[in-house]
């Protein structure tokens, strides 16, 4: 689209066109030629954007930062195993076992991630599989129904009201054909299609109908000039796939975090590798230490936890009509700071509705709510009786049959948008329209046309005839000589004209489409049946003016509250529409995008009576910018405007301009959500941090480009999404803090093992069990945690500053809670050793003899002699004891992590049932691992005794001493200062 369209078919005369496509405008193509062209050009359908091959997707799941570390660890294990096996060493199968476990972990988590991704892609696939579209085509003079994707250039096709245009078509003949080009241009008005070339640009001319637009009414015959990807829509779609995909904020967060973790893991590993070498361990042993430290330090279960948390939220959102294509988009929504919303259908109901009436020199407000729950106006006046009769009779629209039980608002109507609105309005306010029409049979009528700008009909009313007329108010007034006020016909003098002008300007200023209504009683037989309609205007003079009716596409009922919610949540809502600026502004005011009391520069200029150029932009909070103004702007000016005016409305914008607006917002550092439904929106949807497509009105291209789909097309659903996104960010933070904590008690055993040469307190397999088995459930259950306070009253997070994992969180997890857990673990370890005969001081430096497989009579503190295997089971006992202490500390930890701002009691200890179940589950798994027969030899768990665990005081103390969430402070300095004070205080 950025390059000029090179279509000139609209300018060609029909014979030239026939020649160009070697076809016939009466008989169509010959079947054989059509088949040949189908072969040459391919089917007439949009090629879906080329997806990543499945194996690459899977490979990516296996090659993340942490996964790579795990691969390295597994490789080291295998090498160690190979070397030890080569030396004929016994008992080295442990390393092989561990390598297999590590590879299994990577593959299983990879499969899991892949499955999640696959599932979300499937949701999209379901949108694509619509019923194949049919097209009526004329070939060799015969009318055929074929699948639309078999159409070729040169085919002669017929379209009628209700059809989707099957390809780009040059109209040859048309009868009252109107198309809805909104998905292409954003123009919501139906547009006439006729054979004449009316414009040089192929996009503006009337004789081309575009692929995938809707034909609303009438019929047309045309010649296919472009198919598939060569259609205008196809070109836009390919433009969309050209916009590169940005990484989601959460992906960046996780990457950032994984980088840190991987860096620290390698740092620790390398440090202790060097230490081990310096102490004098053999190279291979030092490598195994390195591997063990990596395994201990890397949070293996973290990525799975994050994926599960996100998919849980995605499911929750799906129940609230938001389908998320990309899991990470859930969180992006939470960090959104700007929403660029479409008007039609998203903010509004996408149906014209009567909003105001003017009669008896008074503006009455009609009920515009979706469910007709609003207040009605005073209907006692006789003027209303006349006006309602005109509204009922002077209307060609009618309900489709068989909808008696459907609420009026939801009934389908044949007719254009304004007539539909009037019909429904009449049906609701006066009663059954068809009955009224039956009482006043139509004698003659003149349909609306653009020269007259009115429509009139004559009806029999007993012994009289009633002439009713509606149309553009100024044209209607020209034909009136009287005006009806409270049932009295008064002469239409200058005073009334002024009142009329005032009301007209007022309603027009509200962005409403205004129609005037008038009527006149005629003696019976004035107009005979079958009178030439063109003669009717001569009769229609000296009419009595009944009133004005103004219509608008009203805002959805839920939108103003949602916009307000956005505002309190610090999210800026920008309206971007193809509609008229006045209408756009009116709707923006109606839904609160332009808040009460805010003025545009134009308003300020009008108030101060100064020229527009002299208005200080800072005085105007709001601003309406049209596409034309936008096109004339220097780069960078738009950013300035966006910065100067918090309340922005863009009207009459083109698709590319939408893209420009999104990019400008992003340059200002905002995380931008964009809603859209048309094909023309897809580049902007793609460019946005989160593209939101409409499920009902949205085109496939928009859905393809979007990250999220609103099934009910409702703006309020986005706000729900934002809320969920923020909640999940909070909860993910909790989950990650919980997950991170245990890495320290997993790491310290190795550090002590290497430096103090004690028998190993915690094995690698046991660590994997903690990471991937017992602790997964509590960390996932934190995703079910309720919001602590009204998260919608906070500003959106700043992606630069508010990281998922920040320094205070890491310090708190690692150096405080992690340290406490390590001490608890070591206390238990030394107790378990001492109770079996190995006193703490003996343990120090014991490792070489302890691990000597040929030492079968090692003496403990009591002089008892132990064989190697006995020592090994004792070591497994230590693993188990350490495991249990970590588990118990983690139960305390999960309770600590439940809250970030409130106290545990405020949040409710048992309100999160899932968390309670998870803790029970965790304990059960722990017991199973310890007490299931056979565990010692399979997973190195030993049954241990029930004893009052000595770390209980430690855990209790952890609660008592807990600094109040230093990682939560928005201001990091405050958090740091608080920690020491807290300590002194307790």
């Amino acid at each position: 689209m950025k390059k000029e369209m090179d279509v000139d078919d609209h300018k060609l005369e029909l014979p030239d066109l026939e020649a160009k496509y070697s076809t016939s405008i009466t008989k169509g193509l010959v079947g054989a030629v059509a088949a040949e062209r189908l072969l040459r050009d391919g089917p007439n359908e949009l090629r879906p954007p080329r997806g990543t091959p499945e194996c690459v997707k899977f490979g990516r799941q296996l090659a993340g930062g942490l996964q790579c570390l795990m691969w390295v660890a597994a490789a080291i294990c295998l090498i160690a195993y190979g070397v030890q096996e080569g030396q004929g060493d016994r008992g080295s199968a442990d390393n092989l076992y561990l390598a297999i476990a590590l590879i299994a972990v990577v593959v299983v988590t990879g499969c899991f991630g892949y499955y999640q991704e696959f599932k979300s892609t499937n949701i999209i696939a379901s949108f694509k599989n619509l019923v194949p579209q049919q097209a009526t085509v004329i070939r060799e003079g015969d009318k055929l129904q074929i699948n639309a994707n078999e159409l070729v250039v040169g085919d002669l096709v017929e379209i009628k009201g209700g059809d989707r245009v099957p390809a780009d078509i040059r109209i040859i003949s048309a009868q009252g054909c109107k198309v809805d080009n909104s998905s292409l241009t954003g123009e919501s008005e139906p547009q006439t299609r006729s054979p004449e070339c009316t414009h040089d640009s192929p996009l503006e001319t009337r004789n081309i109908a575009f692929f995938s637009t809707m034909c609303l009414e009438g019929t047309a015959t045309g010649l296919v000039i472009n198919t598939g990807d060569r259609t205008i829509i196809g070109r836009i779609a390919s433009l969309a796939s050209g916009v590169e995909n940005e990484k989601t904020p959460i992906a960046i967060e996780i990457e950032h975090f994984v980088d840190i973790i991987a860096g620290l893991a390698i740092f620790f590993g390398a440090t202790f590798f060097v230490v081990a070498m310096v102490i004098g361990y053999p190279f291979l042993r030092a490598m195994v230490f390195f591997m063990a430290i990596v395994v201990a330090y890397v949070p293996e279960g973290l990525l799975a936890t994050v994926t599960v948390c996100l998919s849980l939220t995605a499911k929750r959102l799906a129940r609230k009509n938001c389908v998320v294509k990309n899991l990470e988009a859930v969180e992006t929504l939470g960090s959104t700071s700007t929403i660029c919303s479409d008007k039609t259908g998203t903010l509004t109901q996408n149906r014209m509705t009567v909003a105001h009436l003017w009669f008896d020199n008074q503006i009455h407000t009609a009920d515009t709510t979706e469910d007709q729950s609003g207040q009605s106006f005073d209907q006692s006046s006789e003027t209303w009786t006349l006006l309602s009769r005109v509204v009922t009779l002077c209307n060609r629209a009618q309900f489709k049959s068989g909808q008696e039980n459907v609420p009026v608002a939801k009934r389908e109507v044949i007719g254009d948008a304004s007539e539909t609105a009037l019909l429904k309005f009449a049906e609701v306010t006066v009663g059954t329209v068809s009955e009224a029409r039956g009482r006043f049979p139509k004698v003659a009528e003149l349909p609306f046309n653009s020269t007259n700008k009115f429509q009139l009909s004559v009806h029999t009313a007993g012994d009289r005839q009633l002439l009713v007329l509606k149309g553009a108010p100024e044209r209607v007034l020209e034909r009136c000589s009287t005006v009806m006020i409270k049932g009295q016909e008064l002469p239409l003098d200058a005073q009334w004209r002024e009142a009329f002008e005032g009301a007209y300007a007022d309603l027009g200023g509200r962005g409403e489409r205004v129609l005037g209504f008038c009527a006149r009683w005629l003696p019976a037989g004035t107009v005979a049946a079958g009178t030439d309609p063109e003669a009717l205007p001569e009769v229609a003079v000296g009419l009595c003016f009944a009133g004005l009716v103004a219509m608008i596409d009203p805002p959805r009922a839920t939108v103003p509250r949602a916009v307000l919610k956005c505002r309190t949540a610090g999210i800026r809502v920008i309206m971007v529409t193809g509609d008229h600026p006045i209408t756009a502004k009116a709707i923006a005011k109606g839904v609160g995008i332009i808040s009460e009391g805010s003025e545009t520069p134009e308003d300020v200029a009008a108030r101060l009576r100064v020229p527009l150029e002299q208005v200080d932009p800072r005085q105007a909070r709001a601003r309406v910018v049209t596409g034309a103004e936008l096109a004339g702007m220097e780069p960078g000016v738009l950013e300035g405007i966006l910065r100067a005016h918090p309340e922005m409305v863009f009207a009459r914008t083109s698709p590319q301009q939408k893209l420009v607006i999104v990019e400008s917002c992003q340059r200002l550092g905002a995380i931008v959500a964009v809603t859209g439904d048309g094909v023309n929106d897809s580049p902007a949807l793609k460019r946005a941090d989160i593209g939101v497509a409409m499920g009902i009105a949205g085109s496939d291209a928009a859905k393809n480009a979007a990250d999220m789909i609103l099934l009910d097309d409702n703006f309020a659903s986005i706000v729900t999404g934002v809320e969920q996104g923020r909640l999940i960010f909070d909860n993910l933070k909790k989950s990650i803090a919980y997950t991170l904590t245990k890495n320290i008690p997993e790491l310290t055993p190795y550090l002590i093992y290497i430096t103090a040469s004690v028998p190993l307190p915690l094995g690698c397999i046991t660590i994997l069990f903690i990471e991937l088995c017992t602790d997964i459930f509590p960390s996932v259950s934190l995703a079910y945690e309720r919001a602590e306070s009204d998260i919608m009253h906070l500003k959106p997070r700043n992606p630069r500053r508010d990281r998922l994992v920040n320094e205070p969180l890491a310090a708190y997890s690692y150096f405080q809670i992690g340290a406490i857990q390590s001490f608890a673990g070591f206390t238990d370890y030394f107790v378990a050793m001492a109770q079996e005969g190995w006193w703490p001081l003996l343990c120090l430096g014991l490792r070489p003899r302890w691990e000597d497989t040929h030492e079968q009579e090692l003496q403990d503190s009591y002089g008892q002699q132990w064989t190697f295997e006995q020592r090994r089971y004792q070591q497994y006992t230590c693993y188990t004891v350490f495991f249990i202490s970590i588990e118990m500390c983690q139960i305390a930890d999960v309770l600590i992590r439940k809250t970030r701002r409130l106290s545990l009691l405020q949040q409710g200890l048992f309100r999160n049932h899932i968390l309670v179940i998870a803790i029970v589950f965790q304990v059960s798994i722990g017991c199973f691992l310890c007490y299931c027969p056979g565990m010692p030899n399979i997973f190195n768990f030993m049954p241990i005794r029930w004893a009052p665990p000595p770390q209980v005081p430690v855990v209790v103390r952890a609660h008592a001493l807990r600094p109040p969430h230093p990682h939560l402070r928005r201001d990091p300095q405050a958090g740091r200062a608080a920690a020491p004070r807290e300590l002194v205080g307790s």
Binding site: P249, Q666, G863, V954
Partner: protein
Amino acid sequence: MARGKAKDGDGNWKKFIWNSEKKELLGRTGGSWFKILLFYVIFYGCLAGIFIGTIQVMLLTVSEFEPKYQDRVAPPGLTQVPQVQKTEISFTASDSKSYEPYVKNLEKFLKDYSADQQTENIVFQDCGEMPTDYKDRGPYSDAQGQKKVCKFKREWLENCSGIQDPTFGYKDGKPCILVKLNRIIGFKPKAPVNDSLPAEVMAKYSPYLIPVHCAAKREEDADKIGTVEYYGMGGYSGFALQYYPYYGKLLQPRYLQPLVAVQFTNLTYDVEVRVECRAYGQNIQYSDKDRFQGRFDIKFDIRSS
């Protein structure tokens, strides 16, 4: 977002390490660093204090004389002297260097069993020449001072005592090994029930004896082992019960484990022969996992030249 990320890259690093405007080192002022360090010093100080306190309290609950639990150490292991790597004894009879380590190991181990080491009557008690019942020596505490220890005469080991032959038979290609049961406090091995034993063991049966028997590990080696001589208390090939129970290294610092010497007088040369020795008793068990529980196996490889 990814975009613009590069902008705040390098330049800020230097500023991060030392910010001269705010006098911040690594993002904190000196005062802040001091506070945070003070916090962690106190925090870890408390943690360490509690840790040490808990360990001390735990040690108070653990008796000095008797371990709280023994479920991992019992049933006992059976081990041999000389202690050898990979449980393989290989030497050339004519080359004294090749068996010197074994002889030294045996000699060192038997030093405590020499008669001149067992003269103090306060420590040692004569427990007779024949196996008898357990000798209970009261509670596991030092209320009555140290406990006495039964003497074990080195002479009982005869050819393997090293008194006549300081090379323990190695120079003749008739190697001796000593078999002993791992020490476990309070453990009272129970003599086996008659019918569960091999016939050779039954030949010299005593109700107060834990018999020891060595045989080929594999059937096909049976004829390569030749004659096996056993020397022990009173000529029995086993551990007499009066040496049990053991009272721990505080109460019986000079405890002598009963020994059985096993001499292989006719081993086939130049072939690896695997021998398995077992101790038999009702509460002595064998395990597939732990090959040293109640038994052990050892490989002999005697080279003729």
